[in-house]
Symmetry: C2
Subunit: 369 residues, 2 copies
Amino acid sequence: MVPEEVMLEMARPIEHHRTAFYRDMYKEVHELLQYLFQTKALCMLFTGSGTSAMEGAIVGCCPPGHKALVIRNGKFAERWAQVCASFGIEHTPLDLEWGHGAKPADITKAMDADPAIDTVIVVHSETSTTALTDVEGIARITRERGALLLVDGITAVGALPVKMDEWDVDVYVSGSQKAMMLPPGLGVAAVNERAWERIDSGKMPTLYNDLKAYRKSHKTFDAPYTPALTLVRGARYALRIIKERGLENVWAETAMLARATRAAAEAMGLKLFAADPVDSVTAMIVPAGVDEAALRKTMRNKYGFQIAGGQGDLKGKIIRFSHMGYVDAFDTLGVIGALELTLAGQGFSVTIGSGISAAQRIFAEAMTD
Amino acid sequence: MVPEEVMLEMARPIEHHRTAFYRDMYKEVHELLQYLFQTKALCMLFTGSGTSAMEGAIVGCCPPGHKALVIRNGKFAERWAQVCASFGIEHTPLDLEWGHGAKPADITKAMDADPAIDTVIVVHSETSTTALTDVEGIARITRERGALLLVDGITAVGALPVKMDEWDVDVYVSGSQKAMMLPPGLGVAAVNERAWERIDSGKMPTLYNDLKAYRKSHKTFDAPYTPALTLVRGARYALRIIKERGLENVWAETAMLARATRAAAEAMGLKLFAADPVDSVTAMIVPAGVDEAALRKTMRNKYGFQIAGGQGDLKGKIIRFSHMGYVDAFDTLGVIGALELTLAGQGFSVTIGSGISAAQRIFAEAMTD
């Protein structure tokens, strides 16, 4: 969901990227991104999805002679292991049961077992399983052991507390289409000095997603390849909204929506999928006797709510609700209300009003003056 | 320049990419791209600039054991040699004087000298120098010798005659922000069966720009990574406009604007930069005594026309005028009129009205019923 005002901002006349207009816009977007990532590090804007920025980060930070530990606990985590495999990067995947997030102890154990590991790659919020990884705790381990920590923050940055500099994370990556309230098409990689040292120490096959090219262009507030002008303009607008609301308030509201949705699930007799549920998106297990495809179709066509299903092995087994970006308490009441009606329509035993009442009690606690 | 109606189309509500809405849209965009490229080949949509699609094409088509000839006649041509260097692709650059396009004889000579060459990489319209390469003639050589021909068509496709299948070009690449009348952020690679055979024969370090991943997703009208939804929607709208106008008419109008601009330059006493001028963009040499930066500033701030300068070694030496996409005869009269006034304002001896009259005579010939 993208605010209408952001869509209309992007419809304004296009200005070429080698102009004062673009440079001023880029400078402001860059400052706003530093606020969003809570960092003083360089935040690079990729014309691409979050995957382009993450590929650039992994490839740049893992030149020959280094070894990565890739926590593999979902579909996106698997992709980062594929990047390593494709580029011939020495790596060890560590498989966690889906729905679980990585804990500091997982990292300690893996690094104790293999002292060659000097790079750790995790997904902060694994969207496919809705599991939360303890990035702050893991960063303590990587700091202590002098390893680099690369974090896929694609459904975390702007939704969950992310404090890149305070936690001392080396690379955080995000994309435009989630908490940034924009259409897809922009990737962002924030890279600290420790990561730059690593990147500068080696040479890898990369051009389009080459972080060094982005750093060079940044000096003149330019881009190495034509930037996605409309999305950069939209980013300025959307990030200004986030700054005005205050990042802590955005984090708190996202967490509130997640709490309300989890309370609603329990009240309706639905189980959560994730053992370590994240606050940016909630997955409920489709109960026995309910047809997931029919459920999502009714939600969309009859009630007007688009919710996500499961991917890969989870197809047909879970439904997912986003709490990121342009969605509020009353949207959340609406989608839970529609879910109650849809479940009842399929003959699932649900007390009408139970889900929305449970959610509303959370909102009453959090929002009543 | 992007038509207002395309910008507003892109401001419409966003639909997720795993929906019937997106699949139907993607199917239509794909058919329209096949029309634009004049091909039955698979046309893949990259979330990225034209460079992402071109990197994917070069890397995919040049696995170990193959050798590329890269015609290097401008800034974009240089980038493709950099892709080869970065990915360790065996290649020979062939430097041409800037402003010149590649001719079939250049290719024959280079391939005679080095029989290991089995891949030729050229830029159809080298935007940085405004030089035209004879793709049709070069394709005859590559066919005869069984080599692959990869063409950067970023300012050619949709502007100049491009007949991928008739000429038997193996890969044509383009980007959204030129003749497609869209903002930047989409790359397109059209890949024929001969190229797919080569791509499938080897393995290269690539994930984000991996053509194989795009081909796989295409089977279900999906994308391997989140697509740039708003730009795909804009593409459908803009390509429908092009189809309605008729591709041959678009090519003819682009050529007419170029002829008029060249005639205007001659009438104003300005020299063209390119020895082999292309019809999609015209470069004029900044005459002695004229300050290029001041000229472009006046054009922009006083008269409202944004024209391009030179890049790299050509900075300050040339000015460039686009004839692609959303620009017509009367826009062209306007920009030439502003150029006359700007040159006169800098004390350059120009007969007021000479440029626009020369352009208008071309338009009278071509447009009068």
